[in-house]
């Protein structure tokens, strides 16, 4: 049955309207979270929030300097562990991964990306905290790094697979050894995508709370020592949000806003960096 032109036109308009509607609906939670966090947090953010340490309960004022620094330290540690290992594993899977062993690795990475983060925290507790006999930034960073691994590995692999085979052959045909062709041509070509994947992984772990509760623990004082407990925004938010003090509730909202902003800035910075590097030459 052939529909008339106006009928098909009408169906087209209807279908398109439904798509737009669905997109808008999907954006509602995202936008409302952002708006809510901003509204709740903006009022409580001032300079002292960044420059001061938490005050004892009941005493007004104070900031989260320790937690902000702590989150940066933890994310830095996680990147130090997660990015090199993840990228290397991704390169292995994409470029050399035809073996049985590679299939096992790939499967493990897929399973690992579904493991609840608190379970990873338990693992880090067992491996690092118990052997060091103390909560530490190291343990927290270790847990977050492991959480990053599967995402970074699989993104790297997927993006390397998108690099056309002809580029690899082009490099090999110039008499370039495979390892160097992989590093200098294949990896570089896929770099923007990999960086985006890494950013997503970073953004995810920056907001993790559960695995930090019994690894990095928390610290209300200034500390950047890697072998000591360290504060972090998510844990601080959690602690403050469940407290009975209004002042702390406000600070929790402010901390949530700062956390969201940090992730956002990180993302934008990465994108700019990629654009500058990719387009300069």
């Amino acid at each position: 049955m052939a529909l008339s032109y106006p009928a098909r036109k009408a169906i087209d308009v209807l279908a398109r309207a439904l798509c737009v509607l669905a997109t808008l609906l999907a954006l509602v939670p995202l936008v409302s979270v952002l708006v809510y966090v901003a509204k709740a947090g903006l009022g409580s953010i001032d300079w002292s929030f960044f420059s001061e340490l938490p005050t004892p309960a009941g005493e007004p004022g104070g900031g989260m300097r320790n937690a902000i620094a702590g989150t940066l330290v933890l994310v830095g540690l996680a990147c130090t562990i997660g990015i090199p290992l993840g990228v290397a594993a991704g390169v292995y899977l994409a470029e050399f991964g035809e073996s049985r062993f590679a299939k096992v690795v790939r499967f493990s990475a897929d399973v690992m990306s579904g493991v609840p983060s608190i379970a990873v925290g338990v693992f880090a507790y067992g491996v690092v905290v118990l052997s060091m006999r103390r909560f530490s930034a190291l343990a927290g960073g270790f847990a977050l790094g492991i959480l990053m691994l599967p995402t970074v590995t699989r993104t790297t692999e997927e993006l390397l697979r998108l690099v056309p085979q002809t580029l690899r052959e082009g490099a090999l045909a110039l008499g370039v050894p495979k390892w160097r062709a992989t590093l200098r041509i294949v990896l570089v070509t896929a770099l923007p995508g990999i960086a985006t994947g890494v950013m997503l992984a970073v953004a995810r772990v920056a907001g993790e709370t559960a695995p930090l509760l019994f690894t990095a623990f928390n610290n209300r004082f200034w500390s950047t020592a890697l072998d000591r407990p360290i504060g972090s925004l998510p844990v601080q938010i959690y602690t403050y949000a469940v407290s009975p003090y209004d002042d702390w509730h406000r600070q929790a909202s402010a901390a949530a806003l700062v956390l969201v902003a940090m992730v956002l800035i990180l993302n934008i910075a990465a994108r700019l960096f990629i654009r500058v590097r990719g387009g300069a030459k």
Binding site: E98, P164, T166, L167, R168, E169, G170, A171, L172, A173, L174, G175, V176, P177, R180, A181, R184, I185, V188, T189, L191, G278, K281
Partner: protein, 287 residues
């Protein structure tokens, strides 16, 4: 003897000569048949496998020094596989292997202790689809072979200019050397890829259907280029286009179903094919 006036007007040779009028375009091709240039490369009983199936079933073929050798034949006849065996690119694909010998200056490149990476530096390759490195500028693409091999170009600017001039691309890109290699048109990209290969000063250049992704004008430019480079380099070109083979090559080999059917100087092969299957193919009866 090529165009003996005595031959009858409707003879097979004259019909073919009309069909491939430029088969004798390379005057130097067969002018001294007794003084053939030495073989730069020689394939001997070369068998190439994809898993268990044979893509080449025992090819023995010389590649003459500083001459253009064309490989023609229908799709799937093993042409590409053959050239990929000449610089050990065949084995890059998982599940493949090669038996037999390929000599380069008398040394078997499949011999024990031969590093395929070294072979590929001496035997360059240009692919079917232009594949400039997208992250590199035009200039860096030309220098890629040196840089990626950790070699220093003595005078990089001079080298870039020389290579780009050799492929007749210099005038078109000299003001935009910093632009990405992929910003060029398809034909320019392919010439850039040839420049990239030439910059390493290989002894042999393999071209696997270098014009199949190009329009007629770009094709003409690349052909002209092959024609010129053919005096200095040993070139092997795979092509679907018989006219192209007739135009650019000194020698032609006809492959069919993984076998070498006929090898002769281009003029003879296209005008006096010895094998009936060659004749059927070049007259368009199959393939």
């Amino acid at each position: 003897m090529r165009s003996a006036p005595a031959s009858r007007p409707g003879s097979k040779e004259n019909v073919l000569r009309e069909r491939f009028p430029r088969a004798s375009g390379r005057r130097d091709a067969a002018e001294a048949p007794n003084d053939e240039p030495s073989a730069k490369m020689l394939a001997e009983d070369l068998v190439a496998y994809f898993g268990k199936s044979k893509a080449l079933k025992g090819i023995t073929l010389p590649i003459r020094s500083e001459r253009v050798t064309a490989i023609i034949g229908p799709s799937g006849c093993g042409k590409s596989t053959f050239v990929r065996c000449l610089n050990r690119m065949h084995e890059v694909v998982p599940g493949t292997h090669v038996t037999g010998k390929v000599f380069l200056d008398g040394v078997d490149i499949y011999g024990a202790g031969v590093d395929p990476v070294r072979v590929r530096r001496r035997v360059g390759m240009v692919f079917q689809k232009p594949n400039p490195f997208p992250t590199m500028s035009i200039r860096d693409n030309v220098l890629a072979g040196l840089r990626l091999n950790g070699l220093r170009a003595g005078d990089a600017d001079a080298l870039v200019e020389k290579a780009l001039r050799q492929v007749a691309l210099w005038d078109e890109v000299k003001d935009v050397l910093g632009r990405s290699g992929t910003s060029l048109s398809g034909g320019q990209q392919q010439r850039l890829c040839i420049a990239r290969a030439v910059a390493l000063e290989p002894e042999v250049i393999l071209m696997d259907e270098p014009c199949s992704a190009l329009d007629p004008i770009a094709t003409a430019k690349v052909e002209e280029l092959i024609h010129e480079l053919g005096d200095r380099y040993t070139i092997v070109i795979v092509t679907h286009n018989m006219q192209q083979a007739a135009r650019v090559s000194h020698y032609t080999a006809f492959f069919y179903l993984g076998e070498l059917v006929e090898y002769a100087d281009t003029d003879s092969l296209f005008t006096k094919p010895a094998n009936p299957r060659t004749e059927d193919y070049i007259t368009g009866r199959f393939g």
